[in-house]
């Protein structure tokens, strides 16, 4: 079986983002970019499955401008066998990403598609569900545990739902999106980073894949969230309890 993993290049999670003065978006020039943390977890899971002998190949896919190849190289250094880069303008909406992924699935025929549950830039949490719909595959979103049964061709997925864990059994091929608890992604070692440089990356454009990119959404503006007003420093627990009771009325 082949596993396809979608990875996204985003502003590093540790960066304090700045909003562009013209309010058109968030500054991404000269800002540290990294692989979306949930995508790292997705890739780690695919690599684990491969290492346990249940998959033969892990293909990492990314979409965006040419510098997204860096993210793909990171994925290859972690252990992905090869990469696919779909060269596209920035800011593809999840529906477009899902349509491109569908075409790639038709070319590559993977038995499992793993994505992060959401990207930490647009916070959409849509792509995995949308690609599953387009393919007519079952979905296991917010996965915190994945067990594959090769004989029965099913995946048992524990999902983090509000207030607990839900266990689903999915027929393969399926789409899984990863939650934070699924695993601890590995670091790429220096020798592997060197090796990754010679791993193949295939390039496509959306036109070559015959996907029409339309958005249906226009960003009107991006603004700073409102600031909280300054609070007060109290001197004792008694004062705190009094404030919470009589001023804030929250206890």
């Amino acid at each position: 079986m082949k596993i396809m993993v979608a990875v996204k290049r985003v502003v590093d999670y540790a960066v304090k983002i700045r909003i562009k003065p013209d309010k058109s978006g968030v500054e991404t020039q000269n800002v540290k970019m990294s692989m979306n943390p949930f995508c790292e977890i997705a890739l780690e899971e695919a690599l684990k499955i491969k290492e346990s002998g249940l998959a033969k190949e892990v293909v990492a896919v990314t979409m965006g401008p040419s510098n997204c190849v860096d993210t793909l190289r990171t994925g290859l250094a972690m252990g992905a066998d090869r990469g696919i880069h779909v060269e596209a303008a920035r800011d593809l909406v999840p529906l477009s990403v899902a349509k491109v992924l569908k075409k790639l699935v038709e070319v590559e025929n993977p038995g499992l598609l793993i994505l992060g549950k959401q990207a930490i830039d647009d916070d959409c949490n849509q792509t995995g569900q949308m690609i599953a719909a387009l393919l007519g595959w079952p979905q296991g979103t917010f996965a915190s545990k994945v067990v594959l049964d090769k004989e029965k061709q099913v995946a048992t997925v524990d999902r983090e739902v509000d207030g607990g864990l839900e266990t689903l059994c999915l027929d393969l091929p399926a789409v899984i999106t990863t939650d934070l608890r699924l695993n601890q992604p590995r670091y790429a070692t220096l020798p592997n980073i060197m090796k990754a440089k010679s791993k193949p990356i295939k390039r496509y454009t959306p036109e070559e894949l015959n996907v029409e990119i339309k958005s249906g959404l226009e960003v009107v503006q991006v603004t700073e969230p409102p600031k909280r007003k300054a609070g007060v420093i109290l001197s004792s627990v008694d004062e705190l309890i009094d404030k919470l009771k009589n001023e804030a009325h929250v206890i």
Binding site: L168, L170, E218, I233, A248
Partner: protein
């Protein structure tokens, strides 16, 4: 807090404007039910539907099987004056909230009803199903909406709440949204509304496309039996950071939470140090919460953590370090040793009702 007021005022103004624009709108709300009534957060989606435009008949879609579904439908029919219709889909296929049949159901109902908007709440139920349905209908959904400017203009947080993005929906009908329920509070509604409630009708499921249905099966639901409220929806959250020093000490936080009827949260540092499992993590990569009261003990207040809790109504911080960034967002700060403060709080806090 001031900011929230500002947002509310803004939305009110926009609401007035959209009244004049008065476009014909009709909304389908995907509702959840449990034990014979619809969940409170589903009503937030109805409240959100009301702020799209004034003349906006709401159809509530309930799916499931058995008598509790019909019981929920009857209660739902009188639960909010703007609900004009309750659609009931009764089938074994909907016994569990599996995305495959539910997304097909939304597609089926939308193709029949031609709604201008489809709304669900952005909890794990709505987030799982709505994008799948949107892809079937070939439209781009807008998730986690916190404010509505008009029938097609929405505000949603991006970069874990560090920026607010206003988006205009320019695509085809339906415009599909998930809304953050804490941003659309449900005010108690007097039951003696003039209307005798909404009409209830069954969805004809004979044309439900079986393509992807049945490829997923529900096995079990194991709820974390802590007896505490869920972190995502709790009214009070008590959080501990690295300063707790050990898993043993973290039990003090749990005790305090029990006393307050609160949920327990943790910082990434506390999770990484192994004090608690990481489903308790609040922050950019963990859960995003907005309770009435957020109490942070031994939390320094890194940006990644603040991103997950800065929409809380009241923030209390207890930290030894008076320069900790958490004090910049705290409404009430107490500089002191949490190993002295927590026991004192435990002793002096009033018993929960």
């Amino acid at each position: 807090m001031a900011s929230r007021l500002l947002l509310q005022n803004l939305s009110k103004r926009h609401l007035l404007r959209s009244t004049f624009a008065s476009r014909s709108a009709s909304t389908l709300v995907l509702a959840e039910h449990e034990g014979g009534s619809i969940k409170a957060q589903s009503l937030s989606a109805v409240v959100a539907a009301n702020s799209l435009s004034q003349d906006n008949p709401v159809s509530l879609l309930l799916a499931g099987s058995g008598s509790s579904l019909h019981q929920a439908a009857e209660k739902a029919a009188t639960s909010h004056p703007s609900i004009s219709q309750v659609l009931v889909a009764d089938s074994e296929k909907f016994a569990y909230p599996l995305a495959e049949p539910w997304a097909k159901l939304i597609q089926l109902v939308q193709l029949k009803g031609d709604y201008s908007h489809v709304i669900a709440t952005s909890d794990s139920f709505g987030k799982n199903i709505l994008p799948r349905a949107a892809a079937l209908l070939d439209v781009s959904p807008v998730t986690d909406v916190v404010d509505i400017n008009g029938p097609h203009q929405f505000i949603r947080p991006i970069y874990a709440g560090n920026a607010l993005c206003t988006v205009q929906y320019t695509g085809a009908n339906p415009c599909m949204l998930t809304v953050r329920s804490t941003s659309f509070p449900v005010h108690p509604i007097s039951v003696d509304s003039k209307s005798g409630g909404a009409s209830i009708s069954e969805v004809d499921l004979s044309t439900l496309d079986e393509d992807s249905v049945g490829k997923s099966r529900f096995m079990k639901l194991s709820s974390q039996d802590t007896g505490r409220p869920d972190l995502g929806s709790a009214k009070i959250v008590v959080t501990g950071g690295r300063a707790l020093k050990s898993a043993e000490n973290f039990k003090m936080i749990e005790k305090l939470a029990e006393k307050l009827g609160a949920a327990v949260g943790a910082t990434r540092a506390a999770v990484d140090a192994g004090f608690v499992p990481n489903d308790l993590q609040v922050g950019q990569t963990g859960k995003i919460v907005a309770p009435e009261l957020y109490m942070a003990f031994g939390v320094s207040g890194a940006i990644q953590h603040l991103a997950g809790m800065k929409d809380s109504k009241i923030i209390v911080a207890v930290n030894k370090d008076s320069d900790a960034p958490i004090f910049q967002v705290a409404d009430y700060g107490l500089v002191g040793d949490l190993f002295e403060v927590i026991p004192e709080l435990l002793e002096k806090l009033p018993e929960k009702k």
